[in-house]
């Protein structure tokens, strides 16, 4: 474990030899932590995710990249039980977790963060952290009324939370409402809170989005630390610089499919990746669009087209 105030290592140790055979979409991994098959999810008529086979290597940092609307977040939601696919099977640590509700997925050690940070604004930073701890007996309604059942456990949790907060340099803010933190601090808090549950796989949805440059480096270090501590990391990111810098493996998605996989430096040379990025429209993000709910807008656009013709 590297110390939190270490100078950012310019060349993080990359993990290699993760795959078996040629790197191609769906390539086998030496030691996969997630194995997914035939995952399909469509909204209305639009297929958001259609992944034949995907394996996420254990003990490494895997980046999930792709243009807007490629289905990265949807895949995240599906793998973590926040959304249900039309079809598909997937395992985590060798056990099937298809159809398992999100909270049980998290209890098994697969913890996620969100693209739009979900700091619990009207809880203090410390309470946010304590909420992350697993298996608290004080969270049972009957025991909660009698503090002697859980006071000792609470003290341990608090000690652990304060330790983590110190590492994330949020200890000075522990009694502030999470709502008062800056965007970057909230990202840090969310990550630290996820670590409170002692996960084996940490899934980060755009950890760098909206974080000011001053905090970027510290976030990168924290992600690298996760690997050093033996966790597996899967993250969605747009920033290619960051991907190249810390990822051991890259999965590229476009239009719901995995179009390429490989080492971060090699994969960017893949023509399918270049196509995916060049061919995509970088539309303004309007959320997951169901084509059927844009009907009226289309009709209006058609009217405009008609008017021009006449």
């Amino acid at each position: 474990m590297s110390s939190n105030d270490a100078v950012p290592s310019s060349t993080p140790t990359k993990t290699s030899g993760l795959h078996i055979g040629e790197p191609a979409p769906g390539v086998k991994k030496v030691d996969p932590i997630i194995v997914a098959d035939h995952i399909k999810r469509s909204f209305g008529g639009l297929t958001a995710v259609d992944v034949e086979h995907l394996e996420i290597p254990r003990g490494a940092i895997t980046a999930l990249i792709g243009p807007n609307g490629a289905g990265k977040t949807t895949l995240f939601n599906l793998l973590t039980g926040f959304d249900k696919p039309d079809t598909g099977e997937w395992t985590f640590d060798g056990n099937s977790i298809a159809g398992v509700p999100a909270f049980k997925v998290a209890r098994r050690g697969q913890v996620r963060t969100f693209q739009l940070t979900k700091a619990l604004g009207l809880l203090t930073v410390l309470d946010n952290m304590k909420l992350g701890a697993k298996g608290q007996s004080g969270e049972s309604l009957t025991k909660a009324i009698f503090p002697w059942f859980w006071r000792k456990e609470e003290e341990e949790i608090e000690a652990r939370a304060l330790d983590l907060l110190a590492r994330f340099k949020l200890d000075a803010k522990k009694d502030d409402y999470a709502a008062s933190l800056s965007g970057g601090q909230r990202k840090l808090l969310e990550m630290a809170r996820a670590l409170m549950s002692e996960p084996t796989l940490v899934m980060l949805d755009e950890p760098m989005a909206g974080v000011n440059p001053a905090l970027t480096q510290s976030l990168l270090d924290h992600i690298l630390n996760l690997k050093t501590e033996g966790m597996t990391v899967l993250f969605v990111e747009h920033d290619m610089h960051m991907v190249r810098h810390i990822a051991d493996w890259v999965v590229v998605m476009a239009e719901g499919k995995v179009v390429a996989e490989g080492d971060p430096h090699e994969v960017m040379k893949n023509p399918a990746v270049i196509d995916a990025y060049l061919g995509s429209h970088h539309d303004e993000d309007l959320g997951e669009l169901d084509p059927s709910i844009t009907e009226a807008v289309k009709e209006l656009a058609d009217d405009d087209a008609d008017e021009i013709k006449h």
Binding site: F43, D290, I293, E295, A296, V297, E299
Partner: protein, 442 residues
């Protein structure tokens, strides 16, 4: 103390006032036990007039016989007491239909038809005279019970339900459009409904304007009221960034204040609009009056016009676009504020019209008439799919038919229960409603 009139479709809301007032007054004056009542006396305290009677068989009182009184401003049931007595308070000096439920009579006993011409001797009319009360008794003896034609009854209820469903649709579409475009679940929509009817009452009865002119002005005022609601309250709240749930609670406050403001000005009694209780207008066709037919025709024409607006006009399409996805609509250059303003004007107008038709359907104008159908309106909107205009239409027709048809099998005072149970069951099975989309319930 209590000044609420009971109403034909339900006696629940006005009783609320009566009892809440009773509650408050008694809270203020320290609580004492409420005076003893038997179920044989219904609505006596709340109403100025009464219909009463004694049910006897060969001079012996019959207990537990169900009597129903229906007419302007009242629809209530009473059960005879140990002396065979019953009494039901009524708000108007008018003619009421009194029905004795023969199924509650002992075996082999029925209401005897003296004239030999009356097919339903267990049902008779009673007119409240200058004395303020009227006695309605029945001749009871051994004999065959009157049975009404079941097929005719079903058709009666079908038309009634359709009529109610159509007027409910007018109300529900406005509620649904407002929800769709602004996300607000507007409890004060009920007060827009009552507003239309009350304005018509003021214009046609108090100011004695000719009815068509009065209706026109009432509708214009309703539309203006819809606009004013948005301009004075909801738009500033949207600007302040007030959340949807706080806004919903604001609408509850507005609803409460509005409702009692109406009562402040027009009082607690039920008043009739012109021609509302004229029996001469009955067509004889499944109990439909000219007013019923006109009401349905108006509702259908207006609903078609709304459909045309939403499907064919530019503004209507923009409305649907905002309803579907405000962010996308704004990004495609639609003036969202203008659309919302127009939706509010429409919602006000449609609610006002719905209120006028509701006042003829019940019949009667009262201060809380909007609140009486608010839950059914919500049921209709949720049933059809929150935020979808056509869903609201379908949901309303279903609720309307369900409410009226269910009286064939369950007691009339339970008829709203069926619709509300259906609402809960639908949420269990298909939470997005009939026309709603699954992704939107998240």
């Amino acid at each position: 103390m209590a000044h609420a009139a009971t109403t034909p479709t339900s006696r629940r809301w006005p009783r609320l006032v009566a009892t809440l007032l009773a509650l408050l007054f008694s809270a203020v004056a320290l609580m004492s036990a409420a005076p003893a009542h038997a179920a044989s006396q219904v609505g006596i305290d709340e109403n100025d007039y009464r219909v009463s009677g004694i049910v006897r068989l060969d001079g012996d009182p019959l207990e537990g016989i169900r009597i129903t009184v229906e007419g302007p401003g009242q629809s209530a049931e009473a059960i005879t007491n140990a002396e065979g007595r019953w009494a039901i308070g009524v708000p108007e000096r008018d003619t009421y239909v009194v029905t004795l439920d023969e199924s509650t009579l002992p075996e082999g006993i029925a209401v005897v038809d003296e004239t030999g011409e009356d097919e339903t001797p267990n049902s008779r009319e009673a007119t409240v005279g200058p004395s303020g009360s009227v006695v309605a008794n029945f001749f009871i003896g051994e004999g065959e019970r009157a049975t009404t034609n079941v097929g005719g009854q079903i058709l009666d209820r079908l038309f009634l339900g359709l009529n109610f469903g159509l007027l409910l649709a007018l109300v529900a579409i406005g509620l649904s459009l407002v929800f769709g475009t602004t996300g607000l679940s507007n409890f004060a929509h009920a007060e827009l409904v009552a507003f239309g009817a009350i304005m018509l009452l003021v214009l046609s009865v108090f100011l004695e304007l000719p009815l068509p002119l009065a209706i026109l002005i009432a509708l214009l005022l309703s539309m203006a009221m819809g606009w004013a609601n948005d301009a004075a309250l909801w738009k500033p709240l949207r600007r302040r960034g007030v959340g949807l749930i706080p806004m919903m609670i604001v609408s509850i406050g507005l609803s409460l204040a509005g409702r009692y403001l109406y009562q402040f000005f027009i009082g607690g009694e039920t008043r009739q609009l012109p021609y509302a209780t004229t029996t001469a207008l009955n067509t004889g066709f499944y109990g439909l009056s000219v007013i019923d037919i006109a009401s349905m025709a108006i509702a259908i024409i207006v609903l078609l016009a709304v459909a045309f607006f939403l499907l064919r006009t530019r503004l209507g399409k923009a409305t649907r676009a905002v309803s579907d996805n405000p962010a996308l609509a704004a990004a495609s250059g639609i003036d969202v504020d203008r659309v919302i303003r127009i939706v509010w004007v429409m919602a006000g107008g449609l609610a006002g019209l719905g209120g006028i038709l509701w006042a003829y359907f019940r019949p009667g104008v009262s201060w809380d008439m909007g609140f009486q159908i608010l839950l059914l309106t919500f049921a209709a909107v949720v049933l059809g799919g929150l935020g979808t205009a056509f869903g609201a239409l379908i949901g309303s027709i279903i609720v309307g038919l369900f409410v009226e048809m269910s009286t064939l099998v369950i007691a009339a005072d339970m008829k709203y229960v069926g619709a509300l149970v259906v609402l809960i069951v639908v949420l269990l099975v298909r939470p997005q409603g009939i026309l709603g989309r699954k992704e939107r319930i998240g």
